[in-house]
Structure formats: C-alpha cells, structure tokens
C-alpha cells in the first residue's frame, strides 16, 4: 500500500487513542477533585492531570505555572484549546484529516465514526461546562474510541491496512499507560510513609480508574489494592489490555504480520521483540529494585524509538 496511506492509518489510530486517554485523565481528575478534603484535598489533581497528559509546556505558556491549574483552565486546555496540539479537539481534528486522506482505505463504518464524532464535537461549547455537560462530553469521547475500535475490529480486512492501524493504536496506548505510571510512580513506591493511608488508596484507585482497571484488579489479584500489584497489573500482566506487556504483545504480532505479508522484516520488528522480551523476563520485584522510574523512562524512550523506526521503515 502507499506509504502515505499507512502513515495516515497509523496516526489516525494514534489520535483516536490519545483522545480517549485524555478523556480518562480528565475523568479521574474530576472524580478525585471531588473527594473529601481529608482524603486527598492537599494535592492538586488538576495540575497532576496536566502532568499526566504531557502538555506542561503548552499549559504553562497559556495559563502560567502548573500550580495555577484549576478545573476550568485544565478542562479548557486539554479538551478544547485549539492552541494545544494534543487537545481532544485537535486530536479529533487530526484524526479526521488523516481519515479523510485515506477514505479509500477505511471501511464506511470507520469513516462514519470519525466523521460523525467530528461533527458532534462542534456541538459542545468551548468552555464553562457544567459538571453534567463535562461528563457527557467525556463519555462521548470514550464512546467514540470504543466505536472506532469496534468498527475497525469488526469491519476491516485483515491486511496491512489493519495491521498499521493496530500498530498505531498500541504504540499510543503503551505510551499513555507508561506516562500515567510515570507521573504517579511515587505513590507506588513501597518505602513511602503513609502507605496504606486513605490518600494513597485514592491515588492507586485513580491510576486503575484512569485505565478502566479497578474491577479487573480485583478479579486478577483477589486482594486489596496494593502498589506493587497495581504496577504489576499495568506493566507485566498480559491479561490486562492496557498493560505495557499486552500492548507490546499486540504490537509485535501486528508487525510480524506485516513482515510475513511483505516477506521481509527490519529494525521495527527487532526492536518490538526485544522490548517484549524485557517485559516477559522481568518480575515486578526486579523492576522495583532497579528503580521503577528508571524502568518507565527507559520504556518511554524505547517506545518512542520504535515509533521512529516504524516511520522510517514503512511510512515515508
């Protein structure tokens, strides 16, 4: 297929995934900011949201120091701000632009999801949303990514177009999970003083909520929420669809499918496999011993590198 088509499919999926992640971050921030002050009121969930969304620089340029973060300016910046290249609005905008360029490579169902989301997005006011309006907006964003994934899964031919689309989704998803962990890693560290306190519990739960894994956690571990188990679930557990291991499992498989179809493999396949091997061969204890933060930083770096290799190998 055309390199540009593959490129568009790849970024289309990435931006749909990104919009979903941003919506979850706002969702969790909203939930936490309304918990009783005694449980966690001292931390500013909105500045944390800016950190997690990875848009500090842009936010600072627009609204001043991160400490100034409020519900209003963070929601406006992350959800709607046209100046923020990774706002939900812009993610949808870019997703549709990409989709429009590859209309012929999409099924009509996939196009329909993107195009109607884009039309619907314009109906939401830019700022000053009530809590109900915001919830409805976030639900709409998450639903769009669900519908898009569903349409992709159910209607697309299993060929290179599908695989490039999946590669994009999983590179982005891995990046998002890793960044959520990176911002919150301190609450997962065992030597912290108030381990087990109500504050920590809410923080751990918020991490799980942000990846829709609170229920899954209980099913998998049949235990109360403990930091190392949260880390294990999100990094190493392949049953958990948003874990780094699961993302790389999928990523590696899609890249192998591409290699098999084209009869040749390259640096992207090798890099994905070596990252997957790292995730398979380490235990959560080893990761904590070597440093959780270091591990996550390395992972984000490797994932970024893989993105570049994919672009270099197939998309230009």
């Amino acid at each position: 297929m055309l390199s540009r088509t593959a490129d568009n499919l790849y970024w289309l999926s990435r931006y749909v995934e990104r919009a979903d992640c941003l919506a979850r971050i706002l969702d969790v921030a909203q939930r936490l900011s309304h918990t009783p002050v005694t449980y966690g009121g001292s931390t500013n969930e909105w500045s944390s949201a800016v950190l997690t969304a990875g848009c500090v620089e842009g936010f600072v340029a627009r609204h001043g120091p991160v400490e100034n973060a409020t519900e209003e300016n963070v929601v406006s910046f992350i959800a709607f701000d046209p100046e923020n290249p990774s706002s939900i609005r812009n993610s949808f905008e870019v997703a549709r632009t990409n989709a429009r360029s590859v209309r012929t490579a999409l099924t009509s169902e996939m196009w329909d999801v993107i195009n109607s989301a884009w039309i619907e997005l314009r109906a939401f006011p830019d700022k000053a949303m009530t809590r109900e309006e915001l919830s409805r907006f976030l639900a709409f964003v998450k639903e769009t990514s669900l519908r898009f994934d569903g349409a992709t899964f159910r209607t697309m031919l299993r060929n290179d177009a599908y695989w490039f689309s999946r590669v994009g989704a999983h590179v982005e998803r891995a990046d998002n999970t890793a960044r959520i962990l990176d911002v919150k890693y301190h609450v997962l560290l065992p030597e912290k003083e108030h381990v087990g306190g109500p504050l920590d519990y809410f923080q751990w739960a918020s991490i799980l909520r942000s990846v829709s894994a609170l229920t899954a956690f209980h099913w998998v571990y049949r235990d109360s929420v403990k930091p190392w188990l949260v880390a294990d679930l999100l990094i190493l557990n392949r049953q958990m669809p948003r874990s780094l291991a699961a993302c790389y499992d999928n990523l590696s498989r899609s890249l192998d499918d591409i290699a098999a179809a084209y009869g040749r493999q390259g640096p992207a396949q090798r890099l994905a496999r070596s990252t997957l091997a790292k995730l398979s061969n380490q235990s959560i204890d080893e990761i904590f011993q070597a440093g959780l933060h270091e591990f996550i930083s390395d992972f984000i770096g490797d994932n970024y590198k893989l993105g570049n290799e994919i672009v270099e190998q197939y998309l230009t």
């Binding site: 297929m1 632009t97 196009w111």
Partner: protein, 471 residues
C-alpha cells in the same frame, strides 16, 4: 421572455409521455412526505461526506450541493441522438488537439486564427511534436448540454481538462434507489453504475507500453481541493490508489509510487491536477503538488497522463465558437449537436453588436469557469451592465457573448412544492484506445432559485438524478 420549455408539462397543461408515470406519482404523494425524503437524502449525503469547497468563502470549507429528489427523464430516442453527437464532438476535439500540437493544418487552412492557439494560456509549447499513446488526448470529457424545446439540444461548453461531477451522477442514483425503490419499479431506467468499470477499462486501454496489467492511479492535489471527495470516491470505485504528488517520484524517466513494500511502477495516471502544477521542473517551479520529472517520463513515453497535457487549448469559450467548423474540417461531417450562436468579442463587428445588445445577452469570460465573471444581461441592472461594459471594452478578446437561451425546466421540489426550475446536463464521454464509452445520462444540474439560469454548484445550483428510459 416566453415561458421556457418544461420537460414534464406542455404549454397546454398536458403531460409529456415520458413523464406520465412520474407526474401521476408526484401528485399522489403528499408534499411533506417528499420533504421528509429530501431531508433524509441530505442527511445521508452529509454522513458519507459528499461535500465540496467553495473558493473564496471562509468557513464554508465543506458545503453540501443541494440534491433534488425529482428525477429528470430523457427518452431513449433523445439519448441515442445525444450520444451520437457527443461521440462526434469528442472525436473532433481529439483530432483538433493532435493537429494543434503537430502539423497545425487547421491553422494553415485558416479555420482557427493562429492567435487562439499560440496566445492561448492553455496551449503547452512543451507538447509540441510530442506523440501521445493512441493519439488520444481527451480521454475523459464532460460536455455541457442545454435544451430549449422538444427537439433542440445545444452544446453549451466543452470540458476537456479535468471535468468533475461524475461522483454526483453516481451517488444521486445510489440515493434515489435507496429512497424511492418504488419509482424504479415503475420505470425502466438505464443503469449508470457501470461507469467505474468503463472508466477503469478506458484507463487500462491507454497503457503506454502495452503492459498487460498496467498499474493505474488517480493523482489528486489533496484533501483541500474542492473535488477531493470525487477523487477518493473514484479511486475507491475503481480499486486503484489515490496518490498525491509526494507519493510519486521519477527515476530514469520511470514513475514510481512509494509504498510500504518499496517503489512500485505506475503506467497510467488519471490526474486531477492542472497542467501548471504537474511538474515543477517543467511548469510552475513553485508547485509542491506535482512530481518533479513527470513531464520527462511522459515525453519518454513511459507513462500515460489522462487527460493529456495541454488539452485546455481546445475547451475555452473562444475555441468553442469554432467547433462547428472544426468538426467539419476533421470529420467532413455536419455537427450533430448545435452550438449556441456565439459572438466573439475579439472581432470588431461582433463586439459592436454585443455592446449594443448587452441587456439581452449572456457575456462570458473566455477562460472563465464555474459561472464566475459572467453577465446575464436580462437579469442585471443598469449599473451592473455598465460596469461590465467597461470590462468588456478594456479587453474584448477575453469575452464571448451568447443569446439568453430559454433553458428548459424540470419539475423540482422547492419550499412551495414542486415547481419548474432551469436545468442543464453534463454527460461524461470516455475515449479509450478500443472504443468510446458513454453511460446513459450524466449529471443534471438545476438552478434552485426561481428563474435563475446559473446552475453552477458554486452559485447555489443543485443536482438531480438523470434517467434515460429504456425503450
């Protein structure tokens, strides 16, 4: 002006035969039902994203062309006549362009003034002496036809560059089948769905080197082009790649496409990009939409471009006025389709007449399109006419004038109900190395405003499904 010829109802109120069933049906269906289906059609169009961009309008980036749900009907006899005339006309266009870029006999015979060729901005010196595969230049033509009475069809304009609108022809039929299946069971409507197959067969027949399985692609300027929807629609229907200039490169005079599996050779390019932008090394050096080296590959005979480069030399409105003579010169036949009588303002006595009769005439720019820069005398006030008079006097050679034709009307659904509105017709003629293909019908454009004669979509015109009834 007398009441224009209506294709459904005669002056005495009786209904013409071809429309009998439709007319009965229209009177039997309540207005709000029709209106409801019209809204449904609009909703579907928006959902599938059939939009177009209008130049010079902000924020109206993507607009919908109004779709009228009342079909236009043409009988098979009428169509047979039309099709013959269209085929003849396109044949002559091809011969004319070939001649202009080779022996120039038409100039030597004094049929067409030299100036209309050499001073024509659409003339491409680069094509001089250049042979093209199968001697065909205009592979895809759109000829605009108007009707003034039961027996008179006129050619209003030839489009020999990159005529658009065929996606509307196909989508209109698709929508009508979906919304009004009952109407199709009452009529024997000739299908148009085979257009995509015909186009692909035509393109494949044009392969430059006799490749058995020629690789075909559609070249688009990109998603910001007003006709982008059509480009992607056609690529989809044909099952070929939709490429932009940056997807292609030329090596040793061969054109390749960048794919995820490496370079892939291209044989036939259906380009929807103007000549000027095709190749920055040959034409506009600032073009980023084209492919550097494409012209060299083309001239080396390694790739076919459809339509050929430089076909615009045959389709401006000044050359149009010579078409009857051009047809006679090359084919030795009388034109089967008449031209609208045309005054060439470049000729002093014509200019004089035009200036004296501005109030009755339609005056158009020679190189204009889309209904821009024209004067419709009877619909203009004094100030507009005087302003245009100044423009005309300043540069007469840039204008032609025609009588205000009483374009035929067709029943059209408007707010007040079903009412007559003026229409024209753009059939699409495909010329391959093996044969000429024309799907029955074409795109009917309709001026939605009462009395308006301007059917262009950029000026608020709409479209209709066009039915050629099998005998």
């Amino acid at each position: 002006m007398a009441r224009a010829f209506d294709e459904m109802s005669s002056d005495d109120g009786s209904v013409r035969k071809a429309y009998e069933t439709l007319s009965r049906w229209l009177t039997s269906v309540p207005h709000d039902v029709l209106d409801h289906r019209r809204k449904e059609a609009e909703y579907i169009f928006r959902r599938i994203g059939i939009t177009f961009a209008v130049y010079g309008e902000q924020n109206a980036q993507e607009r919908l062309i109004p779709f009228d749900i009342v079909p236009r009907i043409i009988t098979s006899d009428e169509w047979t006549r039309l099709a013959k005339g269209l085929e003849q006309r396109v044949k002559a266009l091809n011969l004319y362009i070939k001649d202009v870029y080779s022996k120039r006999e038409v100039l030597r015979a004094g049929i067409v003034p030299e100036e209309l060729v050499y001073q024509n901005p659409a003339f491409r010196p680069e094509m001089n002496g250049q042979s093209v595969p199968h001697d065909l230049y205009v592979h895809i033509a759109g000829i605009d036809i108007v009707r003034t009475d039961p027996n008179s069809f006129y050619v209003l304009e030839d489009n020999a560059r990159t005529p658009s609108g065929v996606s509307y022809m196909l989508e209109n039929r698709e929508i009508m089948l979906r919304l009004f299946p009952e109407l199709f069971s009452m009529h024997r409507v000739a299908p148009v769905e085979n257009y995509a197959d015909d186009l692909l067969a035509t393109l494949r027949s044009l392969s430059p080197n006799g490749a058995h399985e020629p690789n075909v692609a559609i070249l688009t300027p990109g998603i910001y082009n007003s006709a982008y929807y059509e480009h992607s629609f056609l690529a989809d229907k044909l099952g070929v790649d939709l490429v932009e200039g940056r997807d292609l490169f030329v090596e040793d005079n061969v054109v390749y496409m960048r794919t995820t599996e490496g370079p892939k050779r291209l044989d036939v390019i259906y380009r929807r990009l103007d000549d000027d932008f095709l190749d920055p090394l040959a034409f506009r050096p600032d073009s980023v939409l084209g492919v550097p080296g494409l012209m060299s590959a083309y001239k080396a005979g390694n790739v076919t471009l459809t339509n050929a480069v430089g076909t615009g030399v045959a389709d401006d409105k000044a050359v149009y006025s010579y078409m009857p003579e051009i047809i006679k010169f090359y084919l030795g036949e009388e034109p089967l389709l008449a031209n609208v009588p045309t005054w060439r303002c470049r000729e002093p006595d014509h200019l004089k007449y035009v200036l004296e009769h501005l109030g009755e005439l339609v005056v158009k720019e020679v190189h204009g399109s889309g209904g821009y820069g024209m004067l419709v005398g009877p619909k203009s006030d004094k100030a507009q006419i005087e302003a245009f008079r100044a423009k005309l006097k300043h540069d007469p050679a840039n204008f032609i004038a025609q009588p205000t034709l009483a374009l035929s009307t067709c029943p059209t659904l408007v707010d007040e109900g079903v009412a007559p509105r003026h229409v024209d017709l753009r059939p699409f003629i495909l010329s391959g190395s093996d044969k000429v293909r024309i799907v029955p019908g074409g795109l009917t454009r309709v001026a939605m405003k009462e009395g308006s004669l301007v059917v262009n979509s950029s000026q608020g015109g709409g479209t209709k499904d066009t039915w050629v009834l099998d005998a």
